[in-house]
């Protein structure tokens, strides 16, 4: 298992994006001219490394021995029993080193940075998981590391901020705009445009300009490759539904991609419904957005009639983003995936259920995918199976949850 690292699954009918980074009408490269050279170089290097045996070996070894892959596929028996419907399988990305799926991407990109001879990496982060994963690989490879984080997120994810600092990264609070993930990404782009010669920008999700949506997806696809093989081996069949939360969309693309050609498998992404999609206070562009351009790509986006990007709301910092990776917009438009939304309250309820019934503390982001399961598993028969990307663990969210419960730790 876990043999193919960067290949899609055997049947190569789905082949996206185009050479210029388009998934249908979505994607592309909408950046300042100064950055186009760096993006061209990155795309060229990646095209070479993708099939390079040395690179694949190095990546594979790090994933096995540093990250601890493959992660288990686990039948959530008590949760399944209490929901009384489809069997719920969890792909345990919370058990990755650093506690989320994000590290699969940061390892891949840091190895690319090393190949390019760039001594410094930068990243944006919302929940701090991508920042931690970047700080981790930077420490491991001896690279300088600066992480941009919205000031609001610095407060709500203070544990991760301290983790990054312990690993030698410099965390830079961003005070512009809404002080969350999108503003951190603006600031990281500004840094990159200034320091493009010696710096690689490790984007943390399947967004940004081409080639990022493609290469982040490919690095994250190890999740789906393992899970697909594990389902066949442990359960004897493919799942009926694959479900994942969607912020920028990396954990969802990572688990969806190897199943795209399996037409009988439903793919469901769950966005942050915040206070409810109808209230406008949410972060669900695929449910309630329109096509626009932000952070280098064309995709669904929460923007107003004047094209201004709107402020978002979610209890989970990692989903609190007005855009979404272009490949999800494409999968939505061609009908290959569907996108639901879970509210803050629904996510919190699912969060509590998984703690009590399985002894697993999920991230608040992940809890949005679980909320879909709580609602929909009971409507499915017992011979059906749901595969959930348990994208990360929730230690980082303890303070937020305690706060919601009115407890000061």
């Amino acid at each position: 298992m876990a043999e193919p690292i960067l290949d899609a699954n055997a049947a190569q009918t789905y082949a996206q994006p185009t050479d210029s980074g388009y998934f249908g009408q979505f994607g592309g490269r909408f950046v300042a001219e100064t950055l186009t050279h760096a993006l061209d170089s990155l795309a060229a290097l990646y095209a070479e490394m993708k099939d390079d045996p040395e690179f694949k070996k190095e990546l594979h070894e790090d994933l096995a021995h540093f990250v601890g892959r493959p992660t288990p596929l686990y039948l959530a028996e008590r949760l399944t029993a209490s929901l009384g419907g489809a069997a719920v399988y969890l792909k345990r990305e919370d058990l990755n080193h650093t506690g989320a799926h994000k590290v699969c991407n940061t390892i891949g990109q840091a190895l690319l940075a090393k190949r390019m001879g760039k001594p410094r990496v930068i990243a944006e982060t919302g929940a701090g998981q991508h920042g931690v994963a970047t700080a981790t690989v930077a420490a491991r490879l001896g690279l300088a590391c600066d992480v941009y984080m919205g000031e609001e997120d610095v407060h709500r994810q203070s544990l991760n901020v301290y983790r990054m600092k312990l690993m030698g990264a410099n965390v830079i609070p961003v005070t512009s705009g809404s002080k969350t993930l999108k503003d951190a990404m603006n600031e990281a782009m500004r840094d990159w445009v200034t320091n493009v010669d010696d710096t690689h920008y490790i984007i943390g999700t399947v967004a940004g300009p081409h080639p990022y949506p493609m290469l982040v997806r490919d690095f994250a696809s190890i999740i789906g490759q393992e899970a697909r093989a594990q389902m066949l081996q442990q359960v004897g069949k493919l799942p009926d539904v694959v479900v994942a939360c969607v912020g920028g969309g990396s954990n969802a693309m990572g688990i969806f991609h190897p199943f795209i050609n399996d037409a009988e498998v439903d793919l469901v992404g769950v966005e942050a419904g915040g206070h409810g999609v109808s209230t406008g206070a949410h972060a669900a562009p695929l449910n309630d957005g329109k096509v626009g351009v932000l952070h280098g790509n064309r995709s669904y986006l929460m923007s107003d009639d004047d094209g201004q990007v709107m402020e978002t709301h979610s209890v989970s910092a990692g989903l609190d983003y007005p855009g979404v990776g272009p490949e999800h917009s494409y999968l939505k438009d061609i009908g290959r995936a569907t996108y639901a939304a879970a509210t803050d309250d629904e996510a919190m309820e699912a969060f509590r259920m998984l703690n009590r019934q399985e002894g697993i503390l999920p991230a608040l982001e992940t809890s949005h995918a679980l909320a879909w399961v709580v609602e929909n598993a009971p409507k499915m028969s017992a011979d059906k199976t749901i595969l959930v990307n348990l994208s990360g663990r929730g230690d980082k969210d303890i303070l937020t949850v305690a706060d919601i419960d009115g407890i000061t730790l």
Binding site: V31, A32, T34, T36, N186, T194, G296, S303, Q308
Partner: protein, 271 residues
Amino acid sequence: MDAVPANQGRIAAEFARLAQHGKKALVTFITAGDPGIDFTVPAMHSLVAGGANLLELGIPFSDPEAEGPAIQAANERALANGMTLAKVLDMVVEFRASNSTTPVVLMGYLNSVLAMTNFAQRAKDAGVDGLIMVNLPQEEAADLRHTLSAVGMDLVSLIAPTTADPRAQEIVTTASGFLYYVSLKGTTGSGALAVDEVAERMSFLQTLTDVPICVGFGIKDAKSAAAVSAHADGVVVGSALVQLMADSADPNIAAERLHSAAADIRHGLDG
């Protein structure tokens, strides 16, 4: 990609006039609606009176990812004042009531323009001559360039220090109006202007095209303008003017200060 015919409008006329007199273009940038709605049109007139040849007007945007702190703050102030792209066009209409010759170019981010139905025609009707899109590199620009060209507006292309020779060659084939050479790797208002590097790059670019090339980013006063203009057809000054406006208590004070700043730089260029 087929070449777009140069539009024979105000931009071409102004550069032709400057060339005839052996002068360099002073291009000024301010953000529309900053620091107050009523600052902008008087500011445009006083920049022209001070010696500006072409006015760039920034379209306020929520996520100005290529701007430094001064213009970021200007965007936030303008949005807080309720600015929209429609209001930017209204300002151009107001400006045109008493100025029908100075070219006006809007500068901003693609999402603003995409959100307005029939933008090209509306902008043209308002009296806008061209558009600079910060986040629209050559490979993505063909559609918008043709839409603008159809109504006689120029899409101004940017070239950066990191633009490789073959790419620069490609960009100049579709250039119209003027070319904008970004003098440094960084955001607007950065300090690290290296005149020698600009000179070297400009001497190469000028062999590629007859389209006028203006240099922007990092030019803040008469001295830096004079140094750069020796190697260019014009200079763009932005953050310094935006900062000056931010520090002005009312539209009259701002207009006076902009007038003398423009005159000072004009003097440096004509030196």
